[in-house]
């Protein structure tokens, strides 16, 4: 009886040690990630009362770090640039909506928007630069995920004169999710 007791004791101890080893690893599976800025491109036609979207041809977006020289290597492309094998012509996607990540290390970020990028007729290639400024809030999610950043008080400044973007309309100055568009650019 005593031996049985001791044996049970040993067994339970080892069993518990084994179970204690199998700690649930916290895995991050939250939907609350740092949101990105969602921009829609709208037709500036006065007849477009329903705010229908209008595609921008070959839209290239660049992060502007070097404002003096827009063609500098430091100004990385956000959009994917493809090169046609036969014509060796570069182009960017034609879209009516774009998603921009905002810089979580700074309170502002500058992007340039080029339409008709890589077009043979260089007079059609038009670039405008916009500076986005905002306040950042860091919110705790959980121990597995860490924190998310949300943005507030969004402001947009044109750093180039108006070229192809006729109007800027901010739908929401607070960016907390990616449900709806935050910004409309008319062209």
């Amino acid at each position: 009886m005593k031996k049985l007791f001791s044996f049970c004791n040993l067994f339970l101890v080892l069993l518990f040690a084994l179970l204690a080893n199998c700690q649930r690893d916290d895995i991050c599976d939250t939907l609350d990630v740092t949101p990105r800025l969602i921009i829609g491109f709208i037709d500036e036609d006065p007849n477009n009362t329903d705010l229908l979207v209008k595609n921008v041809q070959s839209l290239a977006v660049q992060l502007i770090v070097d404002e003096e020289n827009l063609d500098s290597e430091e100004n990385r492309f956000l959009t994917e640039i493809t090169t046609n094998q036969t014509t060796e012509q570069r182009s960017a996607p034609t879209v009516s909506r774009i998603i921009l990540p905002l810089n979580t290390l700074s309170d502002e970020v500058t992007f340039s928007f080029t339409r008709n990028f890589g077009n043979e007729d260089e007079s059609l290639i038009e670039t405008e630069t916009l500076k986005f400024s905002y306040t950042r809030n860091e919110n705790f999610i959980n121990r597995a995920c860490g924190f998310q950043t949300t943005f507030d008080a969004l402001e947009i400044e044109r750093t180039t004169p108006e070229i192809w973007i006729s109007r800027i309309e901010i739908l929401n100055t607070t960016i907390t999710d990616e449900e709806d568009r935050h910004l409309l650019l008319f062209h």
């Binding site: 339970l12 101890v13 810089n103 290390l105 705790f140």
Partner: protein
């Protein structure tokens, strides 16, 4: 965690050996298991972890006082300082804790032994400071650099309460020296959370969990028994003498 398994085996071997050594029938007045006294011990796991793990500093002392033949009043208190370095969070907790409860000895000792196989419960309380050292931000794409961010978020003087169910063994290995091992299942009852983040560790309780309020704990310890008084001395002595005479 590997060393925990090794220590478990070590303790259990002691149980085997200690039990085997007491097969003799020599009657010893001291070993009638009718002595009532105070046993004080120190948690070895915490001592060893403090020495081997640079992210941990802590100690725990326990004491139990025999109330009746089978029931013991138990108290444990200690201090823990733990730094947790996880994927997304680097935090530090330091504070003290106390646990009070009772143990029931389910083991029927043969003459000459004072071992315990016990189950019991505790009520635990801790007061602590929680500090967030650094964290990472979840970003969906890698367009921008996303380094770890340092933080100075901290809240001091937080408290937490919990209840636990305990089971374990205490074996007398040498004269008045016991070696013991226990496992416990804990459940948080109340918890104060820091401003801006959450508790990741509570001294005396263990790691907290987002999904549930439970935690498991275990400890192995060495304790020393200070006999204070005996109960029913003369009657037992006479009985034992008579039995010994009949046998021989």
């Amino acid at each position: 965690m590997k060393k925990i398994v090794i220590y478990c085996c070590f303790i259990s071997c002691f149980v085997f050996v200690a039990n085997a050594q007491r097969q003799d029938t020599i009657v010893n007045n001291k070993r009638l298991n009718n002595t009532y006294g105070l046993r004080v011990g120190i948690d070895l796991n915490k001592l060893i972890t403090t020495a081997t793990n640079k992210n941990y500093k802590g100690f725990e002392i326990n004491g139990d006082y025999r109330l009746t033949k089978k029931w013991y009043l138990v108290g444990e208190l200690g201090n823990e300082n733990r730094t947790l370095r996880e994927d997304a969070i680097n935090s530090n907790t330091k504070g003290s804790f106390i646990r009070v409860g009772a143990d029931f000895n389910a083991h029927k000792n043969l003459i000459g032994m004072r071992n315990l196989i016990f189950t019991g419960f505790r009520y635990g309380f801790s007061t602590f400071d929680q500090r967030l050292n650094s964290f990472t931000i979840i970003q969906q794409d890698s367009f921008f650099e996303n380094p770890e961010r340092s933080s100075n978020l901290a809240t001091d003087g937080l408290t937490a309460h919990w209840v636990e169910f305990v089971a374990g063994v205490k074996t007398e290995v040498l004269n008045n020296i016991f070696l013991g091992f226990s496992v416990s299942a804990r459940r948080l009852v109340a918890e104060q959370t820091p401003n801006g983040f959450d508790n990741f560790f509570i001294p005396g309780f263990g790691r907290t969990n987002d999904a549930s309020e439970f935690a498991a704990g275990f400890s192995y310890f060495v304790s020393y028994y200070l006999p204070l008084y005996k109960k029913k001395k003369r009657k037992d002595q006479k009985e034992i003498k008579e039995k010994a005479e009949i046998k021989s």
